[in-house]
Every structure is written in structure tokens, then in C-alpha cells.
């Protein structure tokens, strides 16, 4: 079922350590109850693409929220914000987890919510979605799209990213959907295989799909990396997965 009617707004939520951060919210028209999706944006920041994807989830019957994880860096063009974050060596994983927890709590407090929450992210957001589902037990399904640096070498670890996410696989708290392109280098097919092997080792429920003829950013329709056939199939898999795990 799709919902052409929806309300969208920009709100403030309590992020990590109670810091107020902005969030983009889309809610389908009607009484619900609706499942919820928390979107975690990628390095190109709290961008138009992520606002569009937030609305896409509402169109498909989900209350959706995407928090601005880079709020503390300042205001401005998302490109510039992303560049400033990169110049600062990224944002701390712990802060992203705290901000995302704020979005999950907001979701669970909404009237018309069905009590189920999925977390969704692409690129660095895919990594953060997996990381969140390993750290917290308050989400019911996780979608990781081409998450880079889930597998990290020791020399890549630092104060902001102290743990390679793959090391936390044993604490993954919900089913995981992974979508990857076989021509990607971050993550590479070898890293995706490592990721899946670790999931199997710990008996974690997961679905991994690897597309030939595609690399990173398969869904990004405004970039040359867009792959229409794989993107359409991938979105179908996202909605089938959330439909299965977030229904009540």
C-alpha cells in the first residue's frame, strides 16, 4: 500500500548527550499504525537525497526520520558541511550512535507508531546502521547499503572510530539486509565476504545481495554510479525486508 498524502517537517530531537539536533520527518497520512524507519545519512551530509529517501519511506507507509548527524559542524550547503567533516577526520562513532538513539526514541514515542523500528543507511551511513544495530537492542531490522569500512585495518582505527564494526558482529541485535555492488572497492567484494562470514559464524539472520555491473552508490540516481536495474531490484528488497520484519 502506498500513501501519496504525507506531512513533512523539520524538527529538533535530543541527540547524543541530549544535544538538540535537527531532523527531517515524513509521516504518511492516516491513523496508522505505521512502522518506523530511522535513516542515517552518508558523508555528503544531510542532503536533498536523504530528504527524498525519507519521503519515499513515508510513501510506502513508514513514519521516517533522518537526523542531521553533522549539526555540530555548522550550517550551510551540505557539500561544504561534508567537506568540513572530512577535514576534521569524520564524526565520532559514539556520537552517531547517540544521535541515532535519539531518533529511535523519538520514533517510539510517536502516536500511530506500531512499535517496530528499522534502521537504514548507505555508504558511511550503512556502516553506522550496522554499528548501531550491534551496539543497541532497540531496533527490529537493519538495512546496510554498501557500508564502507565495516572491515577496518588496525591502522585505520583512531579515537573517533576505535573499533572495526565487524568485530561487533556477535552483538548484532536484529536481522540485517546488505546490498552491495561487486565493482565496489569500499567495501570490496572480499570485505563483503568477510562481513558475511562473520555473520554466519555467529548465526546472525541476514540477507546479502551482490550485484554484478554495479559498484558503490547503486541507488544514487543523480550520479554516474546509478544502476537502474539493480536499484529497482534493491529497493524492492529493502521494502520486502522491512515489510517482513517491521509488520505487526
Amino acid at each position: 500500500m502506498t500513501y501519496r498524502g504525507m506531512t513533512v517537517e523539520e524538527i529538533k530531537i535530543a541527540g547524543d548527550k541530549g544535544t538538540p539536533i535537527s531532523a527531517y520527518v515524513a509521516r504518511p497520512s492516516g491513523p496508522g499504525p505505521f512502522p518506523g524507519v530511522v535513516l542515517i545519512h552518508h558523508l555528503p551530509a544531510w542532503s536533498e537525497l536523504y530528504c527524498e529517501m525519507t519521503r519515499k519511506f513515508a510513501h510506502h507507509g513508514y513514519i521516517a526520520i533522518c537526523a542531521n548527524l553533522y549539526e555540530r559542524v555548522g550550517q550551510g550547503n551540505p557539500d561544504d558541511i561534508g567537506a568540513k567533516v572530512r577535514a576534521e577526520g569524520g564524526v565520532p562513532d559514539a556520537q552517531v550512535i547517540g544521535d541515532t538513539e535519539g531518533a529511535v526514541k523519538w520514533m517510539r514515542a510517536q502516536p500511530g507508531h506500531n512499535g517496530k523500528v528499522g534502521v537504514f543507511g548507505s555508504c558511511s551511513g550503512g556502516r553506522h546502521a550496522f554499528l548501531y544495530a550491534c551496539h543497541k537492542k532497540d531496533v527490529d531490522a537493519c538495512v546496510e547499503l554498501w557500508g564502507g569500512r565495516v572491515v577496518m585495518a588496525k591502522e585505520e582505527l583512531n579515537a573517533k572510530t576505535p573499533t572495526s564494526p565487524i568485530e561487533l558482529t556477535k552483538t548484532l541485535s536484529c536481522p540485517l539486509l546488505g546490498i552491495f555492488g561487486n565493482e565496489d572497492r569500499a567495501p570490496s567484494p572480499e570485505q563483503v565476504n568477510q562481513h558475511e562470514a562473520e555473520l554466519k559464524k555467529h548465526g546472525k539472520a541476514h540477507e546479502f545481495y551482490r550485484y554484478d555491473g554495479a559498484g558503490h552508490g547503486i541507488f544514487y540516481y543523480h550520479r554516474p554510479m546509478y544502476r537502474v536495474e539493480q536499484a529497482l531490484d534493491g529497493w524492492n528488497k529493502v521494502f520486502a525486508f522491512f515489510g517482513k520484519h517491521l509488520a505487526r
Binding site: L43, V73, A83, K84, G89, H216
Partner: protein, 110 residues
Amino acid sequence: MCTSIVEIAPASGMAKREDEWFPLTHSVVAYDHARHALLYDAITIDFVNSGLPPGARAAVELTLESAKALAAALAKAIAEAEIEEDERAQGLERTRRAAPAPEAAALVAA
């Protein structure tokens, strides 16, 4: 960040954004997904000031080939600049040695 190919170097100088020049603190070089160039990945270079708002940024996205050409041009210009700076330093040293000592000059004048 999906890429781990990020190099951050301290920078001293100025960069231009629209009609405004701003002082620099860092140059950030990465190989990552292009945001504007119609490329899959690009060498991105951001000239930024960490103490100013995010808009204080001069940025380029280059193909690998363009980046190599830029690196070669930079290396050539820097090598020539260093020769020129050496010559300038040697010239200053020669001038210093050829000039009479201040005490001697003072005696002649007296």
C-alpha cells in the same frame, strides 16, 4: 567516510570563494565519490579554514589523470621555486658579506 584515502595537510595562504578571500588552515586531499563531476570517484581537494563556517571552502574534483598532471605541475613549479629561493638566499648572503661592517662604516663617516 567510506574511503580511507584521505590526506590532511596544514596550509598557510588564502583561498577564494565567490568574491571573498579567506585564510587557510588545511588542504584536504581524498579519493572518493564525486559529488559534482560526472565521475564515479574523483580526487577531491578542499582548501578550508577549520576555524570558519563550512562555507569557507575552495574545492575541486578532478579525474585521476588531471590530478596526476596537477601533481606534476606542482612538483615542477615547487622545484623551480626552491632553486629561485636558494639563489635569492645566496644573493642576500653575498650582499651581506660585501657590505661594510656597521662599525667600519661609522668610522669612515667620522
